[in-house]
Symmetry: C2
Subunit: 349 residues, 2 copies
Amino acid sequence: MARRPVTTSQNTKDLDARKATILEAVVAEHIDTAQPVGSSSVAHSADLDVSPATVRSEMVALEHEGYLAQPHTSAGRVPTDKGYRYFVDHLKSGVMSSAQQHQVQDFFANVRGEVEDVLQQTSSLLSRLTNYTSVVVRASHGHASILSVQLVSLDARHQVLVVVFSDGAVIKHSIMSTYDASFEDVTEASRQLNALLLTTTLESRVQVPSRSDNVATLVREAVSVLHAEQPTLDGEQVFIGGSSRVAEVFDGVETVRTVLSILEQELLVVTLIQDILGRGLSVAIGSEHGYEALSSCAVIVAPVTIDGEPAGAVGLLGPTRMKYPEALAAAAMVSQQLTRHLDGEDGLG
Amino acid sequence: MARRPVTTSQNTKDLDARKATILEAVVAEHIDTAQPVGSSSVAHSADLDVSPATVRSEMVALEHEGYLAQPHTSAGRVPTDKGYRYFVDHLKSGVMSSAQQHQVQDFFANVRGEVEDVLQQTSSLLSRLTNYTSVVVRASHGHASILSVQLVSLDARHQVLVVVFSDGAVIKHSIMSTYDASFEDVTEASRQLNALLLTTTLESRVQVPSRSDNVATLVREAVSVLHAEQPTLDGEQVFIGGSSRVAEVFDGVETVRTVLSILEQELLVVTLIQDILGRGLSVAIGSEHGYEALSSCAVIVAPVTIDGEPAGAVGLLGPTRMKYPEALAAAAMVSQQLTRHLDGEDGLG
DNA sequence: GGTTAGCACTCGGTAGAATCGAGTGCTAGC
DNA sequence: GCTAGCACTCGATTCTACCGAGTGCTAACC
């Protein structure tokens, strides 16, 4: 997956009022119709009392400044990524239909079950609301403290390590011992692990016993397996909803393929979302997120917190000509309601 | 999702040798080219020494008997589901390239990690091998015996119930108590739960204490939450690999959409696979599996066992004109190797 | 100077006609 | 029973003409 350098500054200085109106009209209409937009329809729709000819001359200016592009001579104008960016940056906060608002409220009033299930369903909800593919990311439990460690024997050579975190997450790891571990060994190792790890986090490193008896070996093995957890995927979980939307929202089999195959790579998705979030954006349009393969996509993200701490994010993936007002509003409302829901449950469903 | 009655008997009585050869030639060529197949190419390719005209008259017969169809007059023939069925039923066992065989062996020689990860990667492997979308289903732990039950307190009102099964699976459930549970209450409840549930299975029902003290309430809550596990999804896990293949393998956005949206519904996928498996088939073609929406798909399944007991299945989803010999061989080899891998690990990775 | 009406020009999209050709079904003869 | 021959069908391709939405430019207008 080719990664291009990221443009940090948006370089969207304000346009004069009329250019802005025209740009916004073009973007809005193109989002609506998926067609290049001509000067006359802009002249009529936007309530500036000027002739198409005037609009045209403004359009060439906007084209020179990089906000618009022309698929070919004698076609209308189409927004560039920069054009969309301006549009998004100058959006007055959108609204959701009250029917949709109710839908969200009802959802959160009625969900129950494990956090994982709630997050998966939230992802589906967001996708249904917007008709785009939705992504919900749950932050890693890297800095949640450990509440319980338990080693359970499957048989003499196989043990399962189960760790419960303060955020309610549970992880398991399988351990294969190199010698036959007695029931007592395992129980004792389990006891020592608790003593060792309780209240620490996955990020902290602990002193392991250096003895070479069976129990110490088990303990060392368990601790090392836990610490090995980090490098791969940081323990984030990804929940994708409405992946079938990809097929209806993008045109061109090739694009659909590419986007789907990116969605298959959870690590990539997590990185992407965190990247955007880290840059303090709520939308990344086209080339902005730096993934060549997603150059025809826009990504909307909204953070989710628990007790004020970052706990994940919700995201939406659509074409650059996505319905920003609605999508932004939906993402905002869902992330906010999800945050409240998780807070209300003390960090766990 | 409309469900049609399932055809149980295949009704594929043998055809005479020449018809069979012709039918097989048509199917093979159509799988290869995706085009309707004409009489002359069959006459040349298959080594029957007859003229196209003869082939033609056989073809009308095959059409009457329902093995072939004509998209329109003056086009070649295309196999029907029944035609594919005959082809599959009379397939001499296919072969995999030795390169692919090595790929599979290398994979299983080198995978490590949790079963879940292994299964997910196996799914990706199978998809890469075949260029179709792959599904790996892990059977529910409904009749694995319980090795350990633990109740962990998040805070006074929230507990996490963690259960470890003999097959190495770990499940968790969140519990909200209606009163403040002390640390001692939780420890005691945990102890009692162990006494109650150890060596039982999720399917068995146990006698819960009828007292109304705090501990008993916790215990009842925990047990009921466990038993409630069953009805929804039976605890099966689904791992889908290469969903992006859908976009390149089916034509028509609508089909892609439908197939993707079915893959989103895990319950449906599990049912489908188990259904096919239950009918003792290894392939379900077009209308055979009874899902209207998948009428242009073929599904290949192969069971996976642990110690001879059913433990899940691997599956492939492709168009009815999929490359059956290769796909069947790949599914067979992967399921067999996976079975061996899981057996070798004593039922757990 | 900014705005506008007028106009010639561009060029993608569509509709229709002509044609091609792969493939069929039928029939008569071997 | 097989096959050569033949008329016929019908989707796909190509070509042409043409329409019209939209542009850029210029000259006049306020």
